[in-house]
């Protein structure tokens, strides 16, 4: 099997990180990784990047928005369902 290049690995990065690479291609990808420290690091960096964004909850809803939202939704609800 032809050895995968760093460029080819970069193109296939998403599919590998998302676990969607077909088995034969996955083997070639991992063979490349085993012998290429920069590519290994890049894959780890990308995984860390996704984890950091996915697991952080930086934004909280202000009390003001909370109150305004409740009032506005209640009014809309009563408009649509006046019997409730």
């Amino acid at each position: 099997m032809k050895t995968m290049t760093c460029d080819e690995l970069l193109q296939a990065m998403n599919a590998y990180v998302d676990g969607e690479l077909e088995p034969g291609f996955c083997t070639a990808f991992e063979e490349h990784l085993a012998g290429c420290n920069p590519c290994q690091i890049i894959v780890d960096n990308i995984r860390n990047t996704i984890t950091l964004y996915r697991d952080g909850e930086p934004y909280s809803v202000s009390a003001k928005l909370n109150q305004k939202l409740r009032e506005c939704l209640r009014a809309k609800w009563l408009e649509l369902y006046p019997e409730s």
Partner: protein, 231 residues
């Protein structure tokens, strides 16, 4: 109604098989039956997440608040059209994304800038990694720090809109490639290429902050690299 109601009631998505187990369905059923408390519990559960989604896309608290309000108003209006073939959350993300896109379009119109969802420059060469180094910390060790959250928000804000949208929907909100394509009305291949570019650009920015300079390695010379000649 400016929002595309056909889209709101569409039922695409990889999570359709899981939808029967959606923990929100009992609350959705109560709200559909006219129980306001059911709706309020759905709002309580998801308002922070939708505010986060809106902030990541529109990058402005006042606009994000408007997106959240419009999203839940639309939920009240269209709840009975929701067919429960995707999770409630996925449906909600699609609605919020539509309203966030409206904000971006409005800004663009005011600035007379062209809409950049066209398939321009997706075919340019990929940005090659330049700063390559293992991170000094595990993501979970630093995720809650204020300065880290500011860094993440800043890096995301510096991405072009079309890359930011795809990254937020796919990697932060966890939509499938198909759901992301559907929500943004772009092709699957556009989602894939934009996601790869977004991930590479964010990796570069974050690694310059988190990377351990002492263990930095040189990037490969991709210009000279040939198939079959592994360095």
């Amino acid at each position: 109604m400016p929002i595309d109601t056909i889209k709101l009631s569409q039922t695409h998505g990889a999570d359709s098989l899981l939808s029967a187990q959606d923990p929100d369905y009992p609350l959705v059923a109560r709200a559909k039956a006219g129980d306001y408390d059911g709706l309020e519990q759905l709002v309580m559960k998801h308002e922070r997440g939708m505010y986060g989604l809106a902030m990541r896309i529109v990058q402005n608290p006042a606009d994000a608040e408007e997106v959240v309000q419009d999203t839940f108003l639309s939920v009240i209006q269209h709840l009975r059209e929701f067919k429960e073939q995707s999770s409630f959350r996925t449906w909600l993300v699609r609605i919020a994304t539509n309203f966030a896109l409206k904000v971006l379009r409005k800004r663009r119109t005011m600035k007379s800038q062209p809409w950049d969802s066209a398939e321009v420059d997706d075919n340019e060469p990929l940005p090659h990694p330049q700063f390559i180094a293992p991170w000094k910390n595990e993501p979970m060790q630093v995720a809650q720090r204020n300065e880290v959250q500011q860094l993440l928000a800043g890096a995301l804000g510096e991405l072009g809109e079309k890359y930011r949208m795809v990254f937020v929907l796919r990697d932060v909100e966890g939509l499938s490639v198909e759901e992301t394509a559907d929500a943004l009305d772009i092709s699957l291949s556009n989602v894939k290429v934009r996601l790869l570019r977004a991930r590479l650009m964010l990796r570069e920015k974050l690694t310059r902050f988190f990377g351990d300079e002492s263990t930095r390695v040189a990037p490969h010379d991709h210009g000279k690299e040939e198939a079959g000649s592994h360095p």
